[in-house]
Amino acid sequence: MGVELTSTRIADAAAWAKHVREKQNIVDGATNWGRKFSLFTYPFVTACCGMEFMSVAAPKYDLARFGAEFPRFSPRQSDLLMIVGTITEKQGPALRRVWEQMAEPKWVIAFGVCASTGGFYQNYSAMPGADQVIPVDVYIPGCPPRPEQVLDALLLLQDRIQQGTGHSQLRLAREKALADAALTGHE
């Protein structure tokens, strides 16, 4: 007994899967479009770059034009972590914890050379880049960066969000694919 799979039914299944995938792409695209224009920033400000961050956020350069309207001071209410300034090895666990507490999907910008590589603080206490403890999506060079560079980085990040290629987006997609595969028994 048993149901015999004909080639027609396999073709039907494939067509249906393609249809679902396309629908899903439209949904994902719309979701990501919404996400990229409604970033909630958590400013992890540790050093002098904070002055430039204020300049970017203030009316002259106005981060709000790009939808990153409100800095949130709770990681649970934010999805964009701006690491603004030098990160020390002692701060590593705190930074990691803040990132873990943020809402998924989440993105990280390393603001300035210190957050990106440690900058000129190559010593016993400074961490050589925040990406030693958390994945960073966009790095902004400069000591400190010009506000224009920060806006440029935000546009780059928006592109990444739309394409779904942010670190956390890729990780969630990978986890979902693995879960689906485990559910259906296919690899």
Binding site: K90, G92, N123, S125, P128, Q132, V133
Partner: protein, 175 residues
């Protein structure tokens, strides 16, 4: 400036003073370690001295030190005391300053704490301990103040490797 402080100190505690010098207008007295507390107590309590303000405590690591614009004979050599502990004091009453210095050998880097005399030295001595590993005996709470407890060694010692890192966390996805 405070030459009279130095003269009074030598007159009162001559046996405790190794040598005195003046550097950039600051009077410096090199004090024997075992006499430090007696000298400091006198500086604080004597009415003509009245050093009531603890400016700073720090240390200097002389390992492999080569003097700039000084005769090469002053360079550090093996067997000389490796550390200097500097104690800067000021009197807000008489407006004078003095610096006490204690020379310490590498394998005997400890001296009596001055925190019981000036509470303001508490964190400064902790910092000197944290950065140079100098033990202040009698300090009420000699813990690291800047570095984390897991940190091994003392980073401002000249033999601490410049590029050595002691991370607390790293990303699990980076091998």
């Amino acid at each position: 400036m405070a030459k009279k402080v130095l003269d009074a100190l030598v007159a009162k505690h001559g046996a405790a003073i190794v040598k005195t010098e003046q550097i950039h207008g600051d009077e410096v007295a090199w004090v024997k370690r075992e006499a430090l507390v007696a000298v400091a107590t006198w500086l604080r309590d004597d009415a003509a001295m009245a050093f009531d303000y603890p400016v700073f405590v720090t240390a200097i690591d002389r390992l492999d030190w080569k003097p700039l614009n000084r005769p090469p004979s002053e360079a550090w050599t093996e067997g000389q005391p490796r550390f200097e502990v500097c104690v800067q004091l000021r009197s807000s009453k008489h407006k004078h300053r003095i610096r006490l210095k204690v020379a310490l050998a590498e394998n005997d880097a400890k001296l009596p704490s001055l925190t019981p005399l000036w509470a303001g030295f508490n964190w400064q001595e902790r910092e000197t301990f944290d950065m140079y590993g100098i033990k202040f005996e009698g300090h009420p709470d000699l813990r690291r103040i800047y570095m984390y407890e897991e940190f091994v060694g003392h980073p401002l010692r000249k033999d601490y490797p410049k590029d050595k890192r002691q991370p607390l966390v790293r990303r699990p996805d980076l091998a």
